[in-house]
């Protein structure tokens, strides 16, 4: 243990002594941390935007058309499934949710699309949420809708009380949400009946059915019971639906490959920088390593020395990099762009960077293995 502490101390002192090399190695780690976290933060932000509806709907179960993979409405769900669900033991409530693309005519003559969401009054299961102006109850008023605040300019300078034609019907702006921007058009909310009228949906059809489960009931059992009653549609738990969407985005949209590639290259470039600077540091101090060997250090001791340096580089670089990323995240935060940086990502980053530095030090270790203690006499 004492030997370990001794080589660890020597390693730390050696790395801080050469400030330029220290800064260079640290730069490599910080570069890798910033790039990977920025990419993963954007990626997680996009995933969150696409699953936020499910996260905010407070429904334990979702009844969705068969083969549904995203929240984009496909084949409609029969309203009979709603009644089947409501009469299933363990179900606390069940509400329909209508969703479809609507066209907003702009005063300039152009048009923009929104994802129109219709929910039932009073309970408003499925939204709106994150309201920064108005309240859900404004949707009770005739021909009133709630739009996304960050899309106000895009939709022709919307204000509370503005009038817009949506799918050919004149609507009044009753409120604004903040940050409800999925991959496609932003969300706009209307009461269920109004949305049905605007989307021309037959009264016996809907897009999705949200189901709340009695807190005392087992969600999996209730899910199975509902599924048995409505075999032609899918009944998914909230987590299953979220995972389905994430899987779809990862595998079917190229998002996974795009962000995965840039994250990989961030790590690779970081690895190369750290590897080369640590190797170059060993070359610069090769005589010192030879001296340590001559004095009685084993190659294993010098491996520990490098490992300690790797851990220090990994921790210091991660902390500096994460601080920088959080500053960047604060700076660019907007409804359209939000970096999601969960604590688990920070913890994983530190662990990954220590691993990266340890792997990077292998090149230096290979060089140290070859150092002959006899070199000190040359």
């Amino acid at each position: 243990m004492l030997r370990l502490r001794t080589v660890a101390l020597a390693g730390v002192r050696m790395m801080f002594y050469d400030k330029l090399k220290f800064a260079g190695t640290l730069f490599g780690v910080i570069f890798a941390v910033v790039l990977t976290n920025q990419q993963l933060g954007v990626f997680l932000g996009l995933l969150a935007k696409n699953t936020m509806f499910i996260d905010n709907a407070s429904a334990e179960l979702w009844i969705v058309p068969a083969s549904t993979e995203t929240l984009q409405p496909g084949k409609p769900v029969s309203m009979s499934a709603l009644y089947q669900a409501r009469t299933t033991p363990g179900v606390l409530w069940a509400e329909p949710l209508l969703s479809g693309v609507a066209t907003v005519s702009l005063p300039s003559g152009g048009s923009e699309q929104v994802t129109l969401v219709g929910t039932r009054p009073d309970c408003w299961r499925g939204g709106p949420w994150n309201l920064i102006a108005g309240s859900s109850s404004v949707l009770r008023r005739p021909d009133t809708m709630i739009f996304e605040d960050s899309e106000r300019d895009k939709l022709g300078g919307l204000n509370l009380g503005s009038l817009r034609e949506v799918n050919g019907h004149r609507m009044t702006v009753g409120g604004f949400t903040w940050g409800l921007l999925p991959f496609g058009p932003s969300y706009a909310f209307a009461s269920y009946d109004l949305a049905r009228e605007l989307l021309k949906t037959p009264s016996d059809q809907t897009s999705f059915i949200l189901v709340g489960v009695d807190p005392h009931a087992d969600v999996a059992s209730v899910r199975a019971a509902v599924q048995a009653r409505v075999p032609t549609v899918q009944v998914l738990t909230r987590e299953e639906f979220s995972r389905k969407i994430v899987r779809y985005l990862l595998l079917r949209t190229g998002m996974g490959v795009t962000f995965g590639t840039s994250t990989f290259f961030g790590l690779l470039v970081g690895l190369v920088i750290v590897s080369l600077t640590m190797f170059s540091s060993v070359i610069d101090n090769i005589r010192e390593f030879g001296t340590l060997k001559a004095l009685g250090c084993r190659t294993r001791d010098l491996g520990i020395l490098l490992l300690v340096q790797s851990v220090v580089y990994g921790i210091v670089g991660s902390i500096a990099g994460l601080a920088l990323v959080s500053r960047v995240a604060e700076g660019i935060r907007s409804p359209k762009m939000a970096l999601v940086l969960p604590h688990i990502l920070s913890i994983a980053t530190v662990a990954l960077m220590i691993l990266l530095c340890a792997v990077a030090s292998l090149l230096a270790l290979l060089r140290i293995r070859k150092v002959e203690p006899a070199m000190v006499f040359r």
Partner: protein, 228 residues
């Protein structure tokens, strides 16, 4: 072998490289040093004296011949055993001082002690004591870059003496010092080794310090020419 014999080599040869480009640095060398002796290995550049010192210091393997350290035949010792032998039995003094640049004078000295398993506080105390003995009490916390050549070599001597190794090997310890400092440092090395009963083998071609030797062994062309 005599009980007082610290190191002995018999029929030692060392060949560098192979085939047509091989160079025979040592040719059947017999050498020994006894307890408390201050032996100097002299000879022109390329004569093989540093190669002999490297083999005595267990940092280089001989091509053939036998090496005995403290009555133990270590000719065929495993590679993994050698660091421990060097750490516990041998103190090194190098021509270029070879101090660890990032460690202070006392940390350089204490490093060897701590590697030997001496607790940090005791190691630091012994390091301070040794630095005082070599006349550097005020430079304990100074980094090597802020020391003169003579001061660095004094720190190197303190490091070599740390833990009382019975054998000290010095390679051209005066080569980077002026004549006066070189003589002072060698006198100090001899005195400190004498008080500790350590055996010292010094490689040098500095004839200004020859008078300090108990024995001078002259090597030329890989062979011992004279042992006086």
């Amino acid at each position: 072998m005599s009980n007082s014999r610290v190191v002995e080599v018999q029929g030692l040869t060392k060949t560098y490289g192979g085939g047509a480009v091989s160079v025979q640095a040592l040719k059947s060398v017999d050498f020994h040093a006894d307890r408390g002796e201050f032996v100097m290995l002299s000879g022109p550049s390329g004569s093989g004296k540093t190669t002999l010192l490297s083999i005595l210091g267990c940092v280089l393997r001989a091509s053939s011949g036998r090496l005995t350290l403290f009555d133990r035949d270590i000719t065929d010792a495993r590679e993994e055993e050698l660091p421990a032998l060097r750490l516990h039995l041998i103190g090194f003094i190098f021509q270029g001082f070879n101090l660890i640049a990032s460690l202070s004078a006392s940390e350089n000295v204490a490093l060897v002690l701590r590697l030997r398993g001496i607790p940090p506080k005791e190691a630091a105390a012994e390091a301070r004591e040794l630095l005082t003995e070599v006349g550097m009490p005020e430079k304990i916390d100074t980094l090597p870059r802020d020391l003169s050549g003579g001061q660095r070599q004094r720190v190197a001597i303190a490091r070599a003496l740390a833990g009382h190794p019975p054998l000290l090997l010095a390679d051209e310890p005066t080569a980077n010092l002026d004549g006066h400092t070189g003589l002072q440092v060698t006198e100090m090395l001899k005195e400190l080794a004498r008080t500790r009963g350590s055996t010292v083998v010094v490689v040098t071609h500095d004839n200004r310090i020859f008078h300090l030797a108990d024995r001078i062994v002259h090597i030329e062309d890989g062979r011992i020419q004279e042992d006086q």
